[in-house]
């Protein structure tokens, strides 16, 4: 297998699924009508509801959904089961489930006056569904925040050459916000300056390596090179399990990331979160575009970087730790999330994008098109980790992507530096946004009952502390899979809502209903498997060794897993009842579309 074949498979998947399946559903089931008024045109307020050109919206929606998900998921899945199951799930997932979820979330919002999924659930299913959804969203954001902070702290602590670039990135983000919103500088000039300086800082990483090595050594010297926390990590030593140590340097970088995320959460969005994301976007986009092009050309120009290095298939149930199980079903389907299907896309699409849809004919190109583009990003990550089999999963990804970038003539060491930075940057910028949304969700959920939660500092601080506690277990792969399960379950719940809505308006619900059943059963099973793994592989060994912090962290994760299952059961039961109610009593025909003037 080589990268050219994989790229051709990816392009064919997009073309066939879009033209033969997605368009057919759009035409025959949803019956999108360019003459029907959309919420953007009906309720235009110049701010939230704003008719927008489809190509602009495509770029905006894609940027909003594309994050670290497709990259991390592909890296973990290829490491656990090999590249073949991963590519099969990516192709089948996006073709039959992923685009349907993203597109339908936009459709349901557009056809329901631009309401969010929780508001539609409140009306169509039951009032308590909205509250349960908030609880669900908070905990799944907590899981991904814990996973990302853990990954980031590990990489920053172990790779001193990356730290300078990240610090400069944050500084340049702050500068960009100031330039755009206070000094009113033009976007192009500000972009060239800030992105250029960040890029130079990233490439200069090897020259600053010694300084940060010294910093890490000084930090570790505080405890005489003794770890702060020791725990049993079943993912170490080639998944046989080993003792892991949290050194002061790792804790320092974890705290630094938390401080950065806290600031991103409480400062006005223009001051920090938005411009940092923007600068990070250019770094990542540069690496990804060069990488995807390089993957396609590598077979001709540099065949040695185009050959897959890892096995196609590693087994149905690879052993992880002394008592762990990792069955391909259901775990693969939650390990690879965003490249195949993701609940986050549905959440965002229903509010952020649907209120700007100018014309119903734009719903498929924007919602479905962005999902297919996200699939290509996931495919690139899979290719990168498949060709670069050296070292830990993140290192393998960076060396693989660096190899693709080097096809364009960039020296390999700089290309690998850029690839490493692209990975860290995309995770970092997404993490600060996650904390921001967590803070708002916590306020929405508990602010009415417990007034202190309406204070943004209280809500942000609690979110950061909980995430830090999860990091202390050190087992980020389980955190990732638990997040993947929650994220995919969110997608299943949004598909469930779409199914109920389709039944309520008398349309054929099968295209959403069948994926709902598959994703619901698969994701609940995966969460239970992860809870089992956490209990027997992390909680029990650490309890036996008398380690308090890892026991609290893993115990919290097991509790969160069970809570997610209970929340999903409530929503599932309510959704099923609503679905049967609408099936027995066909609802009135959809209202006639108001004419567009």
């Amino acid at each position: 297998m080589n990268t050219l074949v994989a790229v051709i498979i990816g392009a064919l998947t997009v073309y066939l699924a879009y033209t033969l399946y997605a368009r057919r559903i759009d035409r025959n089931v949803i019956q999108s009508d360019p003459k029907r008024a959309t919420p953007a045109t009906l309720y235009m307020d110049g701010v939230d509801f704003m008719p927008t050109n489809r190509n602009i919206l495509f770029g905006y929606h894609f940027k909003s959904i594309a994050a670290a998900g497709p990259i991390v998921g592909a890296i973990v899945a290829a490491t656990l089961w090999g590249w073949l199951p991963a590519i099969v799930w990516l192709v089948l997932g996006v073709s039959f489930i992923g685009w349907a979820s993203d597109y339908s979330a936009i459709v349901i919002s557009v056809r329901n006056e631009g309401n969010s999924l929780s508001a539609v659930a409140h009306r169509l299913v039951s009032p308590r569904t909205r509250t349960v959804l908030f609880i669900f969203i908070f905990f799944y954001l907590l899981l991904v925040a814990g996973a990302f902070v853990g990954i980031m702290a590990g990489v920053l602590s172990a790779q001193p050459r990356t730290q300078f670039g990240i610090i400069v990135l944050v500084a340049m983000g702050l500068l960009l916000g100031q330039m755009l919103y206070r000094w009113r500088t033009g976007l192009v000039g500000a972009t060239i300056l800030t992105v250029g300086i960040t890029l130079v800082a990233i490439l200069a990483g090897p020259w600053t390596e010694e300084i940060f090595k010294g910093l890490n050594a000084a930090l570790n010297g505080i405890t005489g090179n003794a770890p702060i926390v020791t725990y049993f990590d079943p993912t170490l030593a080639n998944f046989k399990g080993a003792e892991a140590k949290i050194m002061p340097s790792l804790l320092f970088w974890a705290l630094a990331i938390c401080a950065f995320c806290y600031a991103g959460s409480v400062l006005p969005i223009w001051r920090m979160a938005q411009p940092v994301v923007y600068v990070g976007f250019w770094i990542t986009a540069m690496a990804m575009v060069l990488g995807l092009g390089g993957a396609a050309l590598a077979s001709f120009v540099k065949p040695e970087v185009a050959q897959f290095q890892i096995p196609a298939f590693k087994g149905w149930n690879p052993q992880m730790g002394p008592a762990g199980i990792m069955p391909l079903w259901p775990m693969l389907f939650v390990t690879i999330a965003c490249g195949a299907i993701s609940g986050w896309h549905a959440l965002f699409g229903a509010v952020g994008t649907a209120r700007q849809i100018e014309n119903e004919a734009d719903m498929l190109p924007v919602g479905g098109g962005s999902m297919f583009t996200e699939f290509l990003l996931g495919l690139l990550a899979l290719l990168a980790v498949s060709v670069g089999a050296k070292g830990a999963p993140v290192g393998a990804f960076a060396s693989g992507l660096g190899g693709f970038i080097s096809v364009w003539g960039v020296p390999l060491q700089y290309a690998v530096s850029l690839a490493f930075a692209a990975f860290i940057v995309i995770v970092l910028v997404v993490t600060q946004l996650i904390f921001r949304v967590m803070r708002v969700t916590l306020t929405e959920w508990l602010g009415e009952v417990i007034p202190p939660f309406r204070n943004q500092h209280v809500a942000s601080f609690i979110s950061v502390i909980l995430a830090l506690l999860l990091v202390m277990t050190g087992t980020w792969i389980y955190l990732w899979q638990l997040f993947g399960g929650a994220n995919q379950l969110m997608a299943a719940l949004s598909l469930l809502l779409v199914t109920v809505w389709l039944a309520s308006v008398g349309k054929n619900w099968l295209y959403a209903g069948l994926p709902t059943i598959f994703m619901y059963i698969t994701t609940v099973a995966s969460i239970l498997v992860t809870a089992y793994n956490l209990y027997f592989n992390v909680y029990q060994p650490n309890l036996a060794a008398g380690r308090t912090l890892p026991v609290i962290g893993s115990g919290l994760m097991v509790l969160v897993a069970l809570l997610l299952v209970v929340a999903a059961a409530f929503i599932g039961i309510d959704g099923w009842r609503a679905f049967m109610r609408y099936l027995r009593r066909p609802a009135a025909a959809p209202k006639a579309a108001p004419a567009r003037g």
Binding site: I56, L57, G59, Y60, Y278, R436, T441
Partner: protein, 98 residues
């Protein structure tokens, strides 16, 4: 004619790419700038026409004198405020998509 058709298609493709890139990059800033301006205008509207939503601040005579300047904004302002939980609610409670 075929040449013109090809030129038109190329121009359309160039525009599409230009719009896509704008959506990827500058659109978010433009949206936020509009939101900031909207917040400023909302404060002005509350001060001048607050009695429309039960917050009388200026005596009606001054509101009436300012009315011609704010008429174009009244419909969208009322619609936007009607969607808020509290009329003074600001973006820190914006769910940013959720």
């Amino acid at each position: 004619m075929p040449t013109r058709g090809l030129t038109d298609r190329l121009a359309a493709a160039r525009d599409a790419v230009k719009h896509f890139m704008y959506g990827l990059t500058g659109y978010e800033f433009a949206r936020h700038a509009v939101e900031m301006r909207h917040e400023m205008e909302a404060v002005f509207m509350v001060v001048t026409l607050g009695d429309l939503i039960g917050v009388p601040i200026l005596p009606p005579i001054y509101s009436l004198r300012l009315l011609p300047y704010v008429v174009p904004e009244i419909a969208t302002w009322k619609r936007n405020l009607a969607r808020r939980r509290e009329f003074w609610e600001k973006e820190e409670y914006d769910l940013h998509g959720v």
